[in-house]
């Protein structure tokens, strides 16, 4: 489901228009352009709420937000890759999974 900017402002309590416009300009949030309007997907809405929360709860200013978002994006990117890799491993026959398990170095060396 995609929502426009007005709907987003209604839905996300505590968000004001100038703020979200700045965030989109900073590319912290990437809505899709549709004519003059923006369309936000669920992931975009969740990201808006995340930014709102880290700014409010951790009192982060505009300098710190991109740093945090950049790190989060890296973590989630790695987690998505890990999930893909794990699914690929899960599809292997038991002896292959066992071999992979055996081949994992101990944590201290890993």
């Amino acid at each position: 489901m995609m929502i426009g900017l007005d709907q987003l402002l209604l839905q996300v309590v505590g968000l004001d228009r100038a703020e979200i416009v700045r965030w989109v300009e900073n590319r912290w949030v990437l809505p899709e352009r549709h004519g003059d309007n923006w369309l936000f997907r669920e992931v975009d809405v969740a990201r808006v709420e995340l930014i709102l929360e880290i700014r409010r709860d951790f009192a982060m200013d505009d300098e710190a937000v991109p740093l945090v978002l950049g790190l989060l994006d890296q973590v989630y990117s790695l987690r998505r890759q890990m999930a893909r890799l794990c699914r690929a491993v899960d599809c292997q026959p038991p002896e292959v999974r066992e071999a992979i398990h055996q081949a994992l170095p101990p944590r201290e060396q890993g």
Binding site: E42, Y76, L85, Q92
Partner: protein
Amino acid sequence: MATETPYQVLGVKSDASADDIRKAYRKLAKQYHPDLNPGKPAAEARFKSISAAYDLLSDPEKRARYDRGEIDESGVEKPRYSYRPHAEGAQGWKYRPEGEMNVEDLEDILSMFGGARRGRAGRAGEGLRMPGADRQFTMTVDFVEAATGGRKRLSLAPDEWLDVTIPAGIEDGQVLRLRGKGGPGLGGGPSGDALIEVHVAPHPFFRRDGDNIRMELPVSLTEAVLGARVSVPTITGPVTMTIPKGSDTGAQLRLRGKGIHRRGKEGDQFVTLKVVIGEAGDPELASFLEGWAAKHETDPRQGMGS
């Protein structure tokens, strides 16, 4: 669709003062009060939502929690949202990091080890080309099949099998490699191989000795003393063999070329005779030997120091 916010219900701005809110509520309450609007369910419903909105906004603590998004317009605790399921879901790919950290594709991750090990890392954008995995199987063949060679079908699944050519003289524990019969390759890479470990079942009377076959052949006393032509099993079927007159237990006869044929050489079959008297002996033979032995005294254990 989003429901009205309590501010919208009361027709006030989100930064309205407590006083403004009270005034707005009183005005609306008078307008929609059920007692003033008998028999009008719409007015009654409206009055209920006005009361609920006022209930929320007149309590500074509740209002603050609502403003922070901790509770919804009916005062119910909102589930703490999480960015994670979205970030890790299909839509999350939108927010992959830019710049030096290149983890855009699984292929990049795979090439970190696949490429290093196999030496086939594709360049960026080329995609990873990787041979398929080898698959391992075991199969058991009987002694004669292993000695003569042949084809054998190995069932992997009800509708999947491998036709395996058993080379003549295969030994127990030997591994056959079927090229391209393993897992499929990645990105146009070649398929892996099927590795089949072959076990050779023992035989009731044949034994392997390199490319020669050895066996023990029971013969009767008559055959041993008088000689005979007897049928002898070999790995390729029975053949007729001549037992010379006066053969002893332990005498070894060679059937040339009846062993394992491989690498252009032919092994032999060695037959060791074993004289058998038969159950409990024969009374007639016994009485004959009593008379015969008196005239032919021999000591087979001569020289053993007994």
